[in-house]
Amino acid sequence: MTKRVLLGQATSKRGGNSVYGLWVSKPDEGSTTYNVETCEDEDLLFDSTKPRHAQILASGTSNGNSFTVETKTNKRVMVFMGGNTNDYNAFGTIGTNSSIPATQTISGNTATITIPNGVKYMVTNIEAD
């Protein structure tokens, strides 16, 4: 059976014996196996030593109202939206600026986010800057 969960002291591939954490590797794919002690980083499902693990703070189809999410102080988070073929303002100013972009303003550890009405979105916990 392939070792797929490592909790505690790291192997040399996972950072050496001075590192402690939790790692989970991908399940087997046919004859390809991913031993959590030796596999490449990109073949892990979870790695507690990485600075980022994406979670969705908010998602859905916007009603146009502002909402807030908690962030690190003065750090924006990454926001992604579905495309809109009527986005007139994708590159700078072109003609009538009928497109309303999403906005994200930071005050302390609070990000206030406004997504245009009807646009699908997800707000992640990934730091943007």
Binding site: V5, L22, D41, E42, L45, F46, N84, Y88, T103, E127
Partner: protein, 183 residues
């Protein structure tokens, strides 16, 4: 639903692994994958972020096409292949503004004072294709095109009608998704 048994590390049934349920769901509810925050039996997770950052590009002169530099994932320190093509999320950012990563835009505009009324149109309308990414197993690159049909019989580039000389910033997050379907 109970909320008291939400993490299993070790044996679950005949399997071994790590499972975490969503809030409000207990393992006593016999949850399925849709009820889990983490399931070590699934082939991939969107949570593992391999790389994040921003890349930029800018148009020069009256050129309709441009691109960013290659961005290498570089997990191994030598720009090696991941062994699969990852999924990448993109968004254009400009200060507090966030835009979707669109590939096509339509517009209509009035040009109030054409410099040459005999040649320049008083209105402009058409379609512009803008940005897309080429994603490889070791790097990616953003390509962008500004192209407009300005009320004329054939497409033409009219840079004076664009305000796109500034660098355009694209934010990205490279996710460890793609390995399960790599060939």
């Amino acid at each position: 639903m109970a909320d008291d048994e939400r993490v299993i590390l070790g044996k679950k049934g005949s399997d071994y692994g790590l499972w975490v349920t969503k809030t409000g769901v207990s393992f006593t509810d016999n949850p399925t994958t849709k009820d889990l925050l983490f399931d070590s039996n699934v082939a991939e997770t969107g949570g593992l972020v391999l790389k994040t950052g921003t890349t930029t590009f800018a148009f020069s002169g009256n050129q309709p096409n441009t691109s960013s530099s290659f961005v290498y994932y570089n997990l191994d320190g030598s720009n090696g292949s991941l062994g699969y093509i990852p999924m990448i999320l993109f968004a254009r950012v400009d200060g507090n503004n966030v835009y979707p990563f669109n590939t096509q835009h339509q517009w209509n505009m009035e040009i109030p004072h054409p410099s040459n009324p005999a040649a320049d149109p008083g209105t402009s309308n058409g379609v512009m294709w803008d940005n897309y990414a080429q994603i490889y197993d070791d790097k990616f690159k953003i390509f962008a095109t500004r192209w407009m049909q300005a009320g004329m019989s054939s497409p033409t580039v009219q840079p004076s009608y664009f305000n796109t000389t500034d660098a355009i910033t694209i934010q990205y997050a490279v996710l460890a998704i793609g390995g399960a379907t790599a060939e």
